[in-house]
Amino acid sequence: MTFPILTLIMLAPAIGAVVILLLPKERSDAIKSVAAGSMAMSLLMSLFVMFSYDRVLGGFQFIEKLAWIPSLGISYHMGVDGFSAPQVLLNAIVGFCAVIISWYQNDRPREYFAFLLALISGVFGSFMALDMFLMLIFYELVLFPVYVLVAGWGSKNREYAAMKLTIYLFLGSLVAIIGLLAAYFRAGNTFDFFALRDNIAALPDTLAFQQFWFPFIFVGFGVLASIWPLHNWSPDGYAAAPTAVSMLHGGVLKATGAYCGLRFGIQLMPEGARLWMPILVIFCFAGLLYAAAIAFRQTDLKYIIGFSSVSHLGLVLLGLTTLNELGFNGAGIELFAGGVMTGLMFSLVGMIYERAHLREIDQLSGLSKVMPVAAVGWVIGSLTLMGMPGLPGFIAELQILMGMWQKSATLSPIGNSLNWHYAVIAVFAVIAIIINAAWTLRVAGKIYFSEPKDPQLLALPRLDGLEKFAIGLMCAVLILVGVMPNTVMSVVQVGVQAIVKGLGLG
């Protein structure tokens, strides 16, 4: 057995959480140091995994496999491929920054950091699990800390938002579980990803089976990826959640929804995906356009960012609907870059709100004089969102749109026509991106670069070193990936090539 680095990445925050719970309540510095320390360890190990992933060899690496409940075909099976390795790193980056951003959380810090670390640990697990049962356990374990954190440390309307969020995600997961159990029972009573994939493909009525059950799994997980019209929990949830939770939820946890949809939906049932994707693409596109339009009209800063994360996931899902290499590549990069971008934007909004206690953009002005670093961070985040060349958003969006063009030239499974609507959607998706550009610039202009109207705003406390560090780290990641896209691209490509090849769709 090799060195269990994935388990350690996943366990480091969990162990941190246990240590924190054992510390006395009053020692909040020690609590925060333990939290930051355990996340730093995860971050370093994730970097190691990302950069020592063998790009020539490809496939799943760092595999760990132990029998767990053999009689149910359940094993402890972890591993990452080119698609999930960057997402593990993403979780480590955003998680680390979320802990740093929460440094001044002085309301019951012990419980807060323990739940936050438990959440991060669960997300790590969902990205790494290659056993469906293990994945479900991590997936559900995430829901609980999210509920507690939003309900216990959120802002106005927090109980309502927390319950709404939890119920949506829980019901979504139940639908996905039904689909997964159907696969389990039909395909040889095993939860192992590889065995399931092969067994499903070998079923005598595999086509009908996949076509029937695919939507359960994909839409079930799609709820977490805020697929339209099941996205409703998302803006409410993010408006109420504490900053760090919004960062993690919007940036990373939603990504697990899309990721699980790919791994346990598309990869297990490619024929089902082929039938349903031309239909689902319409919903994904509607989500993208709708969220962009709402964000444009919204005046509450937290809601704006909430909708922008729906928009970001809309792009990822569009990439997944193409079922080709270009689209998947784009989705992989967008997951990573968009995740960091969402984390960055949420953290900036959180910083403003915690200082000024204002969320309406009309009430805010001239903040670039108070917090210039935040203004720079906002601009970089906005440029990523709108797909400016030189930032990773461009690479991602370009590939997604190209993937859609390519898909539009393939034959549709329904009727005997081409998937021409992909091309139409690709054109209109550009409009959504332009709307995104419009509102981010409008917000930047209004709150950062306008003349300060309110003298009280000028007296706000400045950003301190830790906050600048977190912003700097996330901006640096975005710029680095934008300038040298190959750092992430090369890994994602290896993963996507294998995935698309495995789908076996002509």
Binding site: W68, L72, E140, V148, M163, F170
Partner: protein, 518 residues
């Protein structure tokens, strides 16, 4: 009855039951002899810890699977019996400790002695392989429960619960006794083994169907299965809450234990049906009886639970629905063959054990709330998430496990049950009536899980979303209850899931020993 085979050393096999009887007497005597009686709290802990000690002893008294002690044909002390014994003693111990905080019982030693005697009788129910033993054990367990259900003498609901439970129980057990007496008339023996030899199917087709129906009345009452579930909500609501927890778990499990033992050992009659290319022996009567009962129990329990405004009544109907899930497993067990049959029996055992731990946690929380708030309606749970967050988390864990959401242990339990049902469907062969019926049972089971989301999460919603007056002030949670909730809540959600492979193997051993597969 084979007295000649009797060996006094064999009494060692019922040592845990003997110890329980002694312990119950000691608890009773200790309370009587001490001046002014022992304080209620001390007594609860005293009784409970003693039962834990008996539990530890019973755990190490695991019988050899191949040579079970028969005690003159009265019982069969196999691993199956042992597993149920562990379940019942654990349930009794938790109930004693949870009762320590329950002020309105104002109970002395007799209350705890009744719990202990009832657990003892349930152990014998699981073991009995003789009509007389079956009836005596069942009645001993039930009489103690009737008394305990009506223990809050000042409370009208509790008295009503006691009377209702008693009347229902007396009628159904009389019907069962009538069935058993017919069986004695047909075979001339009270021992299951002799009955199985004497009452062969082709000759006794009509009486066997009739007897099955009559005895099933008694079993269904204990299991609170349709159509004998009507007592459950009223009795649960009126009983002292820890007792409601005990009735809904240990007593229900005992019902399943006698059901499976009776049909497996006394009426193992089979008919030959075509399976694929060959023939299989299928116990025709009880499969055909149990499947509709399972479906109806599931449907009626789930939909009735939706309409409740009282948490204990909701839990009562939910426990009816849970019985439906177990019955799916029993029906699968009845029609499967060989190793798959053992696996189905193990699934039933596993489900009952995990269900007991979980449901006792839920009832303990309900007990604390009813003590503190003076009621156990949904509205009394409002704001619990703020007043006593860890109690509310424990309740959430228990409800999620009852619901069957991963990673709670309830998910694995349901998975085992559904897997057996699908195995039974596959054994029947695609396209047959049995195939579709078993698939239908699984589909209904899954749909009812979705329905149950609404009533279980209704409590969660009340606890965390709704506000109540004075919910900013923390609520003082009594220690004994929190100990029970901690042990059962944590166990139900994480610990058993992680080591469920181990418990599954234990259950499988028990099932193989039950079926004589070694």
């Amino acid at each position: 009855m084979g007295f000649e085979e009797f060996n006094y050393l064999e009494f060692a096999s019922v040592a845990p039951e003997i110890l329980l009887t002694v312990w119950g007497t000691i608890v009773l005597a200790a309370d009587l002899m001490s001046k002014g009686g022992i304080k209620r709290k001390t007594l609860g802990w005293f009784a409970g810890v003693g039962m834990v000690a008996v539990l530890a002893f019973a755990w190490f008294m695991r019988p050899d699977p191949n040579t079970p002690v028969q005690l003159g044909g009265m019982i069969r002390n196999d691993v199956w019996t042992w597993a149920f014994r562990v379940i019942f003693i654990l349930g009794g111990a938790l109930t004693c400790i949870a009762s320590a905080d329950f002020r309105s019982i104002r109970a002395g030693g007799e209350y705890y002695a009744l719990i202990i005697f009832s657990s003892m009788a349930m152990c014998l129910m699981a073991a009995s392989t003789d009509i007389i033993m079956l009836y005596l054990a069942t009645e001993t367990a039930s009489l103690a429960l009737y008394l305990m259900a009506g223990f809050q003498r000042g409370n009208k609901l509790s008295v009503e619960a006691g009377i209702k439970y008693f009347v229902f129980g007396a009628v159904t057990s009389t019907v069962m006794l009538f069935g058993l007496s017919l069986l004695f008339g047909l075979s001339g023996s009270t021992s299951y083994g002799a009955i199985a030899q004497a009452v062969r199917f082709p000759d006794y087709r009509v009486p066997v169907v009739f007897i099955s129906l009559l005895t099933l009345v008694g079993f269904a009452f204990k299991m609170s299965a349709f159509p004998f579930h009507f007592w459950a909500p009223d009795v649960y609501q009126g009983s002292p809450t820890p007792i409601a927890g005990f009735i809904s778990t240990a007593s229900k499990a005992a019902g399943f234990a006698i059901l499976m033992r009776f049909f497996q050992y006394a009426l193992p009659e089979t008919i030959s049906v075509q399976v694929g290319s060959g023939n299989a022996e299928i116990p025709f009567i009880w499969v055909s009886l149990l499947r509709p009962i399972a479906i109806l129990t599931l449907l009626i329990g789930s939909f009735s639970a939706l309409a409740q405004t009282n948490v204990k009544r909701m839990l009562a109907y939910s426990s009816v629905a849970q019985a439906g899930y177990v019955l799916i497993g029993v029906a699968a067990f009845a029609s499967l063959q060989g190793d798959a049959r053992a696996e189905a029996a193990a699934a039933v055992l596993f489900y009952l054990a995990t269900y007991m731990v979980t449901n006792i946690a839920a009832f303990t929380v309900a007990g604390v709330v009813s003590q503190k708030m003076g009621g156990d309606d949904f509205k009394d749970f409002a704001g619990l998430g703020r007043k006593a967050p860890y109690l509310a988390y424990g309740m959430t864990a228990a409800l999620l496990s009852l619901l069957g959401a991963p990673p709670a242990i309830g998910f694995i339990g349901k998975l085992f049950i559904f897997r057996s049902a699908i195995g039974a469907a596959n054994q029947a062969g695609a396209g047959t009536f049995d195939y579709y019926l078993f698939l239908l049972m699984v589909v209904i089971g899954v749909l009812m899980v979705l329905v149950s989301v609404f009533y279980y999460l209704g409590v969660v919603r009340a606890m965390f979303v709704e506000r109540a007056e004075g919910d900013t002030k923390p609520m003082l949670v009594p220690t004994a209850s929190s100990a029970v909730v901690l042990v059962t809540g944590v166990a139900s959600i994480i610990a058993i899931t992680v080591v469920s492979g181990y418990f599954w193997n234990v259950a499988l051993d028990a099932a193989r020993s039950f079926l004589g597969l070694g």
